[in-house]
């Protein structure tokens, strides 16, 4: 791990992304380990995305969304829960520790909590070390060049 663990995080537009912004507005500091991808709903996060993140070398994947009952799209977060569960089973088969994948509910008013989750998860992933797949799978892509 070059500069510390690298975590791909998915955040939903209505709750967790807003919570992350609130942490910023409040100037709450946390480690620069995450790369946030905004989606409209945590229910959009397919197990496929989670696998792709690990395949690409992410040390940890964090899926965040609204608390149960708060989902802007009624039940998207419930779908997210199931998708993450499925992803957990799949990554285990690939030899990736399940603790590298985490689901967290963070509301728009929980800036401090967002920072706390990042801190805790970063630490946990740091303890686990670098992504065990690194070097064992190469990526080939057409249409999108990644520098």
């Amino acid at each position: 791990m070059h500069n510390g663990p690298k975590i791909v995080a998915f955040a939903c537009n209505w709750c967790s992304y807003a919570g992350a912004d609130l942490a910023g507005v409040s100037r709450i500091q946390y480690p620069p380990s995450t790369r946030v991808i905004r989606v409209m709903c945590s229910g959009r996060v397919s197990p496929m995305f989670i696998l792709e993140a690990f395949r690409s070398g992410a040390d940890g994947v964090l899926v965040t969304g609204c608390h149960p009952g708060d989902c802007h799209y009624i039940s998207g977060n419930q779908k997210a829960e199931r998708n993450v569960e499925m992803a957990h089973s799949l990554i285990r088969l690939l030899g990736i520790e399940p603790r590298r994948l985490r689901l967290a509910w963070i509301s728009a008013g929980e800036g401090a909590r967002f920072a706390q989750v990042i801190r805790e998860f970063t630490e946990e992933v740091r303890e686990l070390g670098a992504n065990p797949l690194l070097g064992s799978i190469t990526s080939q892509e057409e249409g999108v060049t990644v520098s």
Binding site: W14, C15, A18, V25, S26, S107, G109, G111
Partner: protein, 426 residues
């Protein structure tokens, strides 16, 4: 385009404004504070689903700000109303913020450097703000405001640090108050409520005892974005409060104070107890009530669950007095209805569920608008026409009509929009 004035930018005003704007009317939303949001912005979570207040309020606030048919006039007051339904002329005072609204980006650099600190009204005095400030972090519009009373430069010509460091050059100490004239077809009153001053209920010793607080103070303490980051710490020693005593009907249902019921307190105290337990499993709550009221959708189940799963004890007994022991723990004296004997319960923190009362300046606004208030000081509404005030062309919604919970306020706001649209369109 026909125009409507909405006075008050709380949830009721916001809902009414959105419903009117979506029907193709132009809405002038006048809000006294520097930001819209009202009381709901001060709450942490709302019953009965305990969802985060800001999360559900924020999108509506942003919609209001961005809607092409809504003009926000924040930090502004209605001064005079003339005319009649279909053709009102309203004079609005837009107070000087001393900040250029076009240039300010709300970055907050100025507030970090401002040397003047004073009690933060949004956090009910539990924390401090600066003389240049943002009403709260998710303020809409996100524009700083300078409090002229406490700004050293405006009061005495010294300092001016904010102006020096503002990267956008947005500070304008020369800014003047402005008057606007609005021509509208209808007016919606959505000015909300105040809380009863607990000092009137002397036997609860709110002023003297540090660990006797009001429900609103509690909301700010338990709020994730509040002064203690959501930790329930006792004012006297900063220790976590584990035994909570909620005193219902503080100032309500009382001939000497307010004889009416404030509607929402039984459920909001339940919510507060639930939130405390969610933060800290060792919390135990006592809710001292006269009648335990909660008949809205989901309220009863919420209260039953609190009793079953969240260490909440509902004690049937009106609180006669609150005393204090040497450790500054409040001691709640009540008559236990089951045994008809006086009892005492020592708690770490006593929370007074104070009455919802009309805004202190309600009579003044009623005068300006030419509408009647009822015998309780709330805006009078016509029988079987719950949105209509005594003056044609003026409607009302939300707690300015009387204590109401959020679902009621929102429904009433849409009702007011229906009536106002009809009145404005003629």
């Amino acid at each position: 385009m026909k125009e409507v004035l909405v006075i008050g930018g709380g949830i009721a005003g916001i809902q009414a404004a959105l419903d009117l704007a979506e029907q193709g009317l132009r809405v002038h939303l006048v809000e006294r504070e520097p930001s819209i949001g009202g009381r709901m912005a001060q709450l942490d979570k709302t019953f009965p689903t305990n969802d985060c207040s800001t999360c559900i309020l924020s999108p509506k606030m942003v919609d209001c700000a961005r809607h092409p048919n809504i003009v926000l006039h924040t930090y502004a007051d209605v001064q005079a109303v003339e005319g009649e339904m279909g053709a009102f002329r309203v004079r609005v005072l837009k107070r000087a913020r001393y900040v250029d609204e076009e240039r300010c980006t709300g970055c907050g650099e100025c507030a970090l450097k401002c040397p003047r600190k004073l009690p933060d009204e949004f956090n009910v005095g539990l924390s401090q703000r600066r003389a240049i400030y943002l009403h709260f972090p998710q303020a809409v519009p996100m524009i700083m405001t300078i409090d002229p009373e406490h700004c050293t430069y405006l009061a005495r010509g010294k300092c001016g640090l904010c102006q020096k460091i503002c990267p956008a050059g947005a500070i304008d100490f020369e800014q003047q108050d402005r008057h606007l004239e609005l021509d509208v077809g209808a007016i919606v009153v959505a000015t909300g409520y105040d809380f009863y001053d607990p000092r009137h209920v002397g036997q609860y010793h709110y002023e003297q005892f540090p660990n006797v607080i009001t429900a609103l103070e509690y909301e700010r303490l338990i709020s994730a974005s509040g002064p203690t980051g959501g930790h329930l710490l006792r004012p006297s020693d900063g220790q976590p409060a584990r035994r909570l005593g909620f005193v219902q009907c503080t100032g309500s249902r009382h001939l000497r104070h307010n004889r009416y019921c404030s509607t929402v307190c039984c459920v909001h105290s339940t919510k507060e107890a639930v939130l405390a337990w969610e933060h800290d499993r060792e919390v135990e709550s006592y809710i001292f009530y006269t009648d335990l009221r909660g008949s809205g959708k989901g309220f009863r189940e919420y209260m039953d669950r609190a009793e079953r799963d969240y260490a909440t004890n509902f004690v049937h007994g009106r609180v006669a007095e609150i005393l204090q022991d040497e450790a500054l723990n409040p001691v709640v004296k009540y008559e236990d209805a089951a045994t008809s004997r006086p009892q005492r319960q020592t708690v770490d923190l006593a929370i007074l569920a104070t009455s919802l009362v009309p805004r202190h300046d309600a009579p003044r606004l009623a005068d300006i608008l030419g509408i009647e208030l009822d015998e309780f000081g709330f805006v009078h509404s016509e029988p079987f026409a719950p949105a209509e005030t005594s003056r044609p062309g003026i409607v009302a919604c939300g707690c300015c009509l009387g204590p109401a919970d959020i679902p009621q306020s929102v429904a009433q706001a849409s009702a007011a929009a229906a009536c106002a649209a009809e009145m404005a369109l003629g």
